[in-house]
Symmetry: C2
Subunit: 131 residues, 2 copies
Amino acid sequence: MKIGQVAEVSGLPAKTIRYYESIGLIEPAGRTSSGYRAYQEKDIETLKFIQRARSLGFSINEVSALLMLWNDRNRASAQVKELAKQHVADMDRKIAELQSMKDTLSNLIEKCQGDHRPDCPILNDFAQTDR
Amino acid sequence: MKIGQVAEVSGLPAKTIRYYESIGLIEPAGRTSSGYRAYQEKDIETLKFIQRARSLGFSINEVSALLMLWNDRNRASAQVKELAKQHVADMDRKIAELQSMKDTLSNLIEKCQGDHRPDCPILNDFAQTDR
DNA sequence: ATGAGGCTTACAGTTACAGGAAGGTCAAGC
DNA sequence: GCTTGACCTTCCTGTAACTGTAAGCCTCAT
């Protein structure tokens, strides 16, 4: 299979697949006699795995760790669980941070008339020096 | 005031202040005879404004727009409100996305024993091809 | 006068790719 | 046999918003 088809079935752009190869996340693909990348079933499964993990927000580094665990028949599931838990904790932190920012800004928006007059509690708050 | 003190009172690292100058977000600061940056009260207020807006998640571009509105005595507050609302909508999208990823992963974690055995529903799910 | 700490510029590195240029390959149609 | 268009190749640049590092002035206190 050539990279274009692999891109379709894996859900990853061809550009991204080449990128993953270039940074060593995946093994260099085989080549046809004319130099095109040629993918096997196993490669495609790996790329789907990566796509799924990335879509759940794992970083490239985390995906790399997950791939190693996946390819290690003797790994303990506890390691995977631990990695996943840390990732969930990261997400929780980010969600809380975003939520807090959003709440603050939403409050300011409510106070702002939003008409033609220049007085705006949002800007006034931003300019507040005693905070 | 020199950049170090400005960094302290504004809450922005000196490095970041120089960066903001380099990209044109703020005017080039005045200089002492020996070449050090010298800041006025107005500059410091601007930097505090930027710090506050950034801490609420506005991008540099958005901050730039907010600064123009702030410095425009004739702007209508409606524009500011609109910008802020869009930003809140962005945050809502991001929160929802993170929450959804988190829920999915949390479900998988619950199903995982997390012991010494290699069988792991998390990895199995990632490797699932029929999704 | 010398040492510590603050300031200067400039360049590289970070994350995870996307865009584009210049050129090779392949299957189909005339 | 030749062209055309889609697909492939590598290489380089750009993105957001900084942070780190190096090499070298400036300032102040001892």
